[in-house]
């Protein structure tokens, strides 16, 4: 009987479409439906030079906005003024999806998209400025994966933007080259800011707080390019202690809650002049792909380099943190080494290194992990031997590496 009633109700509801003309989407008001139609047409008709203005107000949409033109600007009246809400989205899954170069998006907000908030694939010369992406229900596994997500792109500037509540990474730059992320704010995401398989990135003057992990520099296997040459500096990375709400298997699900800055399997990474505080697993973690749960032979490109190499850490201001690591193994390790009330040193290294290429028992000079950071301590967790022989000896980290060049984005820096 119930199913019959259901059919009847559905048929009654469907009567709405049995008249001519475009139907009004179920979840939208007439005004929002009209706004969406007109905005969709602007996206369809956009040409180089087109400026699409998003007026102030909260506009409900139920379908992704897709752009396939170069040279377009999308501009709102402010990140708290012009709000595109995808709470009722039925077809997407992104909020805004862009395939285009010479693209600028500024001064608007994207809320509650089912998938990524803003995804830009295969673009060159991208500017994302004053954009706020938020999942307004707070951290939830059902939130979209990425807030601001340029991928496979070049010459990217992300500034004065923010992401809240992404179930993977808030600001996530993947498989790209020449990137600046600055003056952004990432909070309540699993990963705040993530630079992945990207070549030449500068991440500075950002705030990452209240995430599971603050700022991540990762290399994943099987992708179009391995990343290297990322500078992380002048950021404030504190209290990233939010319990992870990533689905298992997601790339960031291996990040323990309470991680400040994490380098995984990446190389030529320079971390300096940051304020990193009160991240309860560790303020800074250096690790290899083996410390994630995903390593297996058949599924990983044999050319993939799982080791972090040429990591240079200096002149950061660390405080607090390391006092309540996430996960049983790390908790046990912490208590065993530093006592119930003790804490990990500021820097934790999982201990994996490329044993095939050691010179006098150490990695070649240009591939070492070097630390020049006052009295900041280091824990070698001895991951390769299941944490059996951890050590706090800092001898092997006493070295320096040549400094990386700044990223230049002509006309924008």
């Amino acid at each position: 009987m119930r199913s019959l009633a259901l059919i009847a109700a559905c048929l009654a509801a469907a009567a709405g479409c049995s008249r001519q003309g475009p139907s009004q989407p179920a979840g939208l008001s007439a005004a929002d439906a009209a706004f969406q139609k007109q905005l969709q047409e602007q996206f369809l008709d956009a040409q180089p030079g087109t400026v699409i203005e998003i007026p102030p107000g909260r506009h409900a949409l139920d379908r992704v906005l897709t752009l396939r033109a170069n040279g377009v600007t999308i501009r709102g009246a402010g990140a708290d003024q012009s709000i595109l809400s995808f709470r009722n989205e039925i077809s997407g899954p992104e909020g805004i999806l862009v395939y285009g170069s010479d693209f600028t998006i500024e001064n608007l907000a994207i809320e509650d998209s089912k998938g990524d908030g803003l995804k830009i694939n295969d673009g060159d010369h991208l500017t994302i400025r004053g954009v706020r992406v938020a999942w307004t229900g707070g951290p939830q596994t059902t939130n979209g994966a990425y807030g601001i997500y340029p991928v496979h792109s070049h010459h990217i500037l992300i500034e004065d933007s923010s992401s809240w509540g992404a179930s993977d990474a808030g600001i996530y730059v993947g498989q790209s080259t020449d990137v600046i992320v600055r003056r952004c704010h990432a909070e309540q995401n699993v990963a705040g800011i993530e630079i992945e398989n990207t070549i030449h990135a500068d991440v500075y003057d950002n705030v990452a707080t209240g995430n599971t992990g603050g700022i991540l520099v990762f290399n994943m296997p099987n992708l179009s390019q391995p990343g290297h040459s990322t500078r992380v500096f002048r950021n404030k990375v504190f209290r990233n202690n939010l319990g992870s709400f990533a689905a298992k298997g997601a790339a960031v699900a291996s990040v323990p809650a309470g991680s400040g800055v994490v380098v995984n399997s990446n190389s030529k990474v320079e971390i300096f002049d940051n304020d990193i505080a009160d991240n309860q697993t560790a303020n800074l973690i250096i690790s290899a792909y083996f410390s994630t749960n995903y390593y297996n032979k058949p599924g990983i490109d044999p050319h993939y380099d799982p080791y972090p190499r040429a990591i240079f850490i200096y002149d950061n201001r660390f405080s607090g943190g390391g006092d309540s690591p996430d996960g049983l193994e790390l908790k046990t390790l912490k208590v065993a080494m530093f006592g119930l009330n003790g804490h990990f040193p500021d820097i934790v290294w999982d201990g994996y290194r490329d044993e095939q290429h050691l010179v006098n028992g150490l990695p070649p000079a240009e591939e070492r992990i070097c630390i020049r950071n006052g009295d900041a301590g280091v824990l070698n967790a001895d991951g390769p031997h299941k944490y059996k022989n951890p050590s706090t000896d800092t001898m092997q980290f006493q070295c320096e590496l040549p400094k990386l060049d700044a990223v230049e984005l002509p006309g924008r820096t």
């Binding site: 001519q20 296997p221 099987n222």
Partner: protein
């Protein structure tokens, strides 16, 4: 033979004038004048499907104009159980060039249509049948509107600059379809052969979403047809003048040149044909449903996961491959495919989802494709090997 049947005579061989004359004679018994020929618009977006005169309402049927040739694919894209009438038309004197592996090279002026429709499943307009039975769909080579409800007709039009996509949505009276550049939505209820029912929202894509599937190369960003490839068309079709191989038929009516001997033409598996190997059926299914994005140059080129026909059956196909940007789409699983274990694999999990942000494909689907999912699970369950560590 009724009027529409006679008109649509595939006699395109010698000359169009003669063909038209023959057609006119055939319908001598009917009082109506034959409709104008297919109208190719080299630019612009005609507001009505009828402007093109490719398929149109005639009596109780959706009729095909003369020179408009229907075709099917060995394994089609799943679109919420919609049935599809696909047609192709080319200007007189032009033909497509055969390719072994790529979409045929069609001449400027080609109009490909795909009409999405459902067999009706009751009195209400929203009740449509979830069935693979097409036996009541047709009236001649057109559709019997006493039995089916037309939803939308999408045109792919080959213009001087390239292909363009134009979506048209059928009106409630089923007399014509209107241009719907920004797409449309309609609530429908799928009624199964077993009497169960499932409400869902049918989503007509907007023009940009058309490109979401039909731009298979991000570098060129060019729209292209997906189906008209040798391996998909290498099958039989019940034309009014008998059952024939589709490729041979296209040659016969003058629409295709360069077709090699039959033995040299590739053939994709028919996904529902249980007499064919599960692996071939699964690969054909994944290619047509996923390969337009998941190929080395497609929009999913960021994922390291490919389903095009050339993908080797290893990590590139997802075997033991960790996800890259799946987010919660992992469903708490670690690898795209775990051999022998569909229940631990991300691929069938995402196919089973109807939630944007989790489900795959990302668009064109608001229901679960039960039979397609069962095939992929069967394939993974039978896959040898393990991911080990």
């Amino acid at each position: 033979m009724d009027c529409s049947d006679g008109r649509r005579a595939p006699a395109r061989a010698a000359s169009w004038l003669v063909g038209a004359l023959v057609a006119a004679l055939t319908i001598g018994g009917c009082a109506r004048t034959p409709p104008p020929a297919v109208h190719f618009f080299p630019a612009g977006r005609p507001l009505h499907l009828s402007d093109w005169q490719v398929v149109f309402r005639e009596g109780d049927a959706l009729a095909l104009n003369r020179g408009v040739v229907p075709f099917d694919l060995n394994t089609p894209l799943f679109s919420d159980y919609a049935h599809k009438l696909r047609t192709v038309w080319m200007p007189p004197g032009t033909a497509a060039r055969y390719s072994d592996s790529q979409t045929f090279d069609f001449p400027v002026g080609t109009v490909i249509s795909k009409t999405f429709y459902y067999p009706r499943a009751g009195r209400g307009a929203a009740a449509v049948a979830r069935t693979y039975d097409q036996s009541r769909d047709f009236a001649g080579s057109g559709l019997d509107l006493r039995n089916v409800r037309l939803i939308e007709t999408r045109l792919l039009v080959r213009r001087e600059r390239g292909w363009e996509a134009l979506p048209y949505v059928w009106n409630a009276e089923q007399t014509d379809a209107e241009l719907a550049r920004t797409g449309d939505e309609m609530p429908l209820v799928l009624v199964g052969d077993d009497g169960t029912s499932e409400p869902f929202t049918y989503v007509v894509p907007n023009e940009n979403q058309c490109a979401g599937c039909h731009v298979t190369n991000l570098k060129t960003r060019a729209i292209a047809p997906i189906g008209p490839k040798a391996r998909h068309l290498n099958r039989d079709y019940a034309y009014p003048d008998g059952v024939q191989n589709e490729l041979a038929y296209l040659v016969k009516v003058g629409y295709l040149t360069g077709l090699p001997p039959a033995a040299e033409v590739p053939r994709a598996a028919a996904w529902r044909d249980a007499s064919q190997p599960v692996e071939a059926r699964a690969r054909a299914y994944l290619e047509i449903n996923c390969g337009h994005c998941h190929n080395p140059t497609g929009p999913a080129d960021t994922t390291a996961l490919t389903f095009d026909v050339g993908t080797p059956p290893d990590r590139h196909l997802g075997v033991c491959k960790p996800p890259v940007a799946a987010g919660r789409g992992t469903g708490d699983h670690l690898f795209d495919i775990v051999p022998g274990h569909p229940e631990d694999s991300i691929l069938p999990f995402r196919m089973a989802s109807r939630e944007p942000g989790v489900m795959m494909p990302e668009q064109g689907r608001g229901t679960e494709h039960r039979e397609g999912l069962a095939l992929i699970r069967e394939w993974i369950a039978a896959m040898p090997g393990s991911c080990g560590s």
